[in-house]
């Protein structure tokens, strides 16, 4: 008989300027797998962080087994029986399996007061065999496979008597075989009465493994459907249902010859046999879910990730791109995914960031010519409408949208002929978004070839002239502009 194991009621959480979770109520029965789906930015991660104690809610209540609980730290969450298996595993790789499972609570021999390794190892083996695993508890976790590490984390959760287990994109890094093993483990946990919240973008998987599916969108709870009777397209509609109340400029493509051609690109275990071309004056979108390989394709073109096999041709000639500097020499520009850690130097000022990729241009000798630097800075502040009190403030004080514009300005100062842009409007307000799209449009007119990697479905559909859908390391399908709608894109991307 299924009882209400977990009830999250009217949960609210806001960050400056954005309502991440808006009055969300969700329930979970014991012995069930509840899928939690939603696009990037829908609020799933924030909701889960409040359940696991990583964040504190602004308002709302959590009930476990119909008793109200106060979760305000990871420890209090664990004490209530809530455990999380994060996508980026948090195993302590230099310690053994038993030490990870028993972290902080290694059994002590009452007489000698020393650690009772025998008990630790025996109990670890017991838990592991519950999970169909024969991992040696003495093994150092760093030597295990990703699947085995996940099992160690599940074992740790079981050992801490987890009643609610949250799994965040558990199969993102697993092979098919390991995924199947994981599903068997999940079945076992279900039979023990554990309730599992399963977060995944992979719709096939969610339909395979879950009993019910809850959908979030724009911070709000949309609805829950019983998996058996639900339809995939229906769930996707719930996920993306918002109005296209954002205006995307109509960017005409002015194809003027092939700028970049990628053939047989291969990074072992990550991307396989990638072939495509981009023309001057064209925007090609690369769309894929987390772990699909889209990001790796982009990074290999700009020399950040190294290629195992394959060729890159620019204007018909084969080029060798082994680091960011050589990609710049080939007139390739790059807007990285993480502006704070990869695109900007936060302690530097606006003008110092804008000039960082063009230091050679700041005067003919060794000395930096201040007036050239100032004029470059003023030029981009104006062109991109960067909102800043002056060009000497540190960029860490600017908003996300303005920071992103600075990354754009820094790259554009080098006059790239090919531009690889990753998530250009992530965390960017509506006004700045428009400015960035306008700049992309202008670049298109000037004949720049643009590769756009984005998980923002409306964005990539509206801005790109063609979209290549990438899944599990391969290009699965190409859609020309207008050939696909949002559902098609998400559907293709979730197939494996």
């Amino acid at each position: 008989m299924k009882s209400t194991l977990l009830k999250m009621s009217k949960i609210c959480k806001s960050y400056p300027g954005v309502k991440a979770v808006d009055d969300v109520s969700i329930d979970l029965f014991s012995g069930e797998v509840l899928g939690l789906m939603g696009e990037n930015g829908a609020g799933k991660s924030t909701l889960i962080k409040m359940l696991s104690g990583a964040e504190i809610m602004d308002s709302g209540e959590i009930y476990i087994n119909e008793e109200k609980v106060n979760i305000n730290s990871p420890k209090s969450a664990q004490d209530c029986g809530v455990s999380v298996i994060y996508q980026e595993l948090i195993t302590m790789d230099t310690l053994s399996v038993a030490e990870n499972i028993f972290v902080g609570q290694l059994p002590i021999n009452k007489t000698t007061k020393l650690i009772d390794w025998k008990t630790a190892e025996k109990k670890s083996s017991d838990v592991l065999s519950l999970l169909n695993s024969k991992i040696n508890p003495k093994s150092i976790v760093g030597t295990l496979s990703i699947y085995e590490k996940q099992i160690v984390e599940v074992a740790k959760a079981i050992h801490k008597n987890a009643k609610v287990l949250i799994m965040d994109e558990p199969t993102a890094a697993l092979s098919e075989k390991d995924s199947k093993s994981l599903f068997e483990v999940i079945d076992k946990l279900k039979s023990q009465g554990v309730g599992i919240i399963y977060i995944s973008h992979r719709i096939e998987e969610v339909f395979n493994i879950t009993d019910r599916v809850s959908v979030m969108r724009d911070g709000m709870f949309i609805g829950t459907k019983t998996t058996k009777s639900a339809k995939k397209k229906e769930i996707i509609s719930m996920m993306i249902g918002r109005e296209l109340n954002q205006f995307f400029p109509e960017i005409k493509s002015e194809k003027k010859g092939i700028a970049l051609k990628v053939s047989g690109l291969n990074i072992d275990g990550i991307i396989e046999d990638i072939n495509f071309e981009v023309q001057r004056g064209e925007i090609v979108g690369l769309f894929g879910l987390v772990g699909s390989g889209c990001l790796n394709i982009a990074r290999s073109i700009v020399g950040v990730d190294s290629i195992d096999q394959g060729d890159i041709d620019i204007d018909g000639r084969k080029v060798s791109i082994k680091d960011p500097k050589s990609s710049m020499k080939n007139k390739i520009g790059f807007i990285p995914i993480d502006r704070k850690h990869e695109g900007l130097t936060l302690d530097f000022s606006v003008k110092q960031n804008l000039s960082l990729q063009s230091l050679e241009q700041l005067g003919s000798g060794f000395i930096i010519n201040d007036s050239i630097e100032n004029s470059i800075a003023k030029k981009w502040v104006e062109k991109l409408e960067i909102k800043t009190p002056n060009i000497d403030v540190q960029v860490k004080n600017l908003s996300g949208g303005n920071q992103q514009k600075i990354v754009l300005g820094k790259t554009l100062e080098t006059n790239p002929e090919i531009l690889v842009v990753v998530e250009p409007t992530r965390g960017v307000d509506v006004g700045a978004k428009m400015d960035i799209y306008k700049m992309l449009e202008s670049l298109c007119h000037q004949g720049v070839a643009i590769i756009l990697v984005s998980t923002d479905v409306p964005e990539i559909l509206s801005i790109s002239h063609r979209v290549l859908v990438v899944s599990t390391g391969k290009i699965r399908k190409e859609f020309k502009k207008g050939e696909a709608n949002q559902q098609d894109l998400l559907y293709e991307a979730s197939l494996s």
Binding site: V304, P324, T345, D347, Q352, F366, D392, V393, N397, K410
Partner: protein, 317 residues
């Protein structure tokens, strides 16, 4: 908020503190402000100050060089040994070999850190041990007396009444403050220290820049060694023991942080002066040498703690 490279408040506080120290010592000792003492003080400052100026750039780039003292000892031994040969090489060649000693150590450090991606602390720690050991081996643990004009001149000679080591120090300060604060190279050093990944993505050649810094650091240490050789007239494997601590203290006192991206030449100059004045003043006042180490350690901890608290307050805002 001002951009990096010009922490006005920090540097002026340091110089105010320096002024305070000078005032105190000139009261407690009548000899403190004598021309002889001032010259001696400034010359001693120049000895370690040259290495400190170059180390500033390394620390700003988020690196470290602990091998300074070892290179000093090795250089004095190498140069003194070459001079005491029966038919010694020409002076200019010997001096070049002396500078080359530091350059080679710096190159090896740089290579381990850039090509092998080794940790700078571990690398230069190893270099410290190896150079010190080589110094003992080459000199057979003996001191090597030297009566030689050129190194004597370098250390004790004057140009317009200013001792040459001080002139070398002033030149080093001028060259490196232009290099660090005004040049493209200096900007890229700050970028590497503040965020190496962003710097790399912006096309900055990280490895070659770091290599240059470590070679310069080695050469600076050798220059310090040659000055010390001239001052003491003896090459000893023990020369430079403890200098690495003194130099790092001066740089951190001046506002540079081990986490990189922060620091100025002026700050390091202030740090070097404060340490020099403190040691000199205390010595004149009768404090024994062994106690000076304690003061140095306390000053280092207080300075770093102060900067840490200051940074934390800035972030909390």
């Amino acid at each position: 908020m001002k951009s990096i490279g010009f922490k006005l408040s920090t540097t002026s506080s340091l110089f105010i503190f320096l002024g305070f120290l000078i005032a105190v010592f000139s009261i407690t000792s009548e000899h403190f402000l004598s021309p002889y003492n001032i010259t001696s003080l400034l010359t001693n400052i120049s000895y370690s100050g040259i290495a400190a100026i170059v180390l500033t750039l390394i620390i700003i780039s988020r690196g470290l060089d602990i091998s300074v003292g070892g290179v000093i000892g090795l250089t004095t031994v190498v140069v003194a040994t070459l001079y005491s040969q029966n038919d010694p090489l020409p002076t200019w060649l010997i001096l070049i070999i002396g500078l080359g000693t530091g350059a080679i150590v710096g190159f090896i450090n740089g290579w381990c850190i850039t090509a092998l991606d080794m940790d700078p602390i571990i690398t230069t720690l190893g270099a410290m041990a190896i150079t010190r050991g080589l110094a003992y081996v080459i000199s057979d643990s003996q001191s090597i007396l030297m009566f030689e004009d050129t190194t004597d001149y370098i250390s004790n000679g004057t140009i317009f009444y200013i001792p040459i080591p001080i002139i070398i120090f002033i030149l080093t300060v001028i060259i490196f403050s232009v290099l660090l604060h005004k040049s493209k190279f200096g900007r890229s050093i700050y970028a590497i220290g503040a965020n190496e990944l962003s710097a790399e993505f912006s096309g900055i050649a990280i490895k070659s820049k770091k290599m240059i810094l470590y070679i310069l650091s080695g050469v600076a240490a050798s220059i310090s060694g040659i000055i010390l050789l001239g001052q003491t007239s003896v090459g000893m494997p023990q020369h430079g023991l403890g200098t690495e601590l003194e130099v790092i203290t001066a740089v951190l006192l001046g506002g540079a942080a081990l986490s990189g991206g922060k620091g100025t030449i002026y700050g390091t100059v202030a740090g070097v002066l404060i340490l020099g004045v403190l040691f000199n003043g205390l010595t004149i006042s009768g404090v024994r040498y062994v106690h000076l180490q304690i003061f140095q350690g306390i000053l280092l901890l207080v300075a770093v703690a102060t900067y840490e608290i200051k940074t934390r307050n800035e972030v909390a805002r």
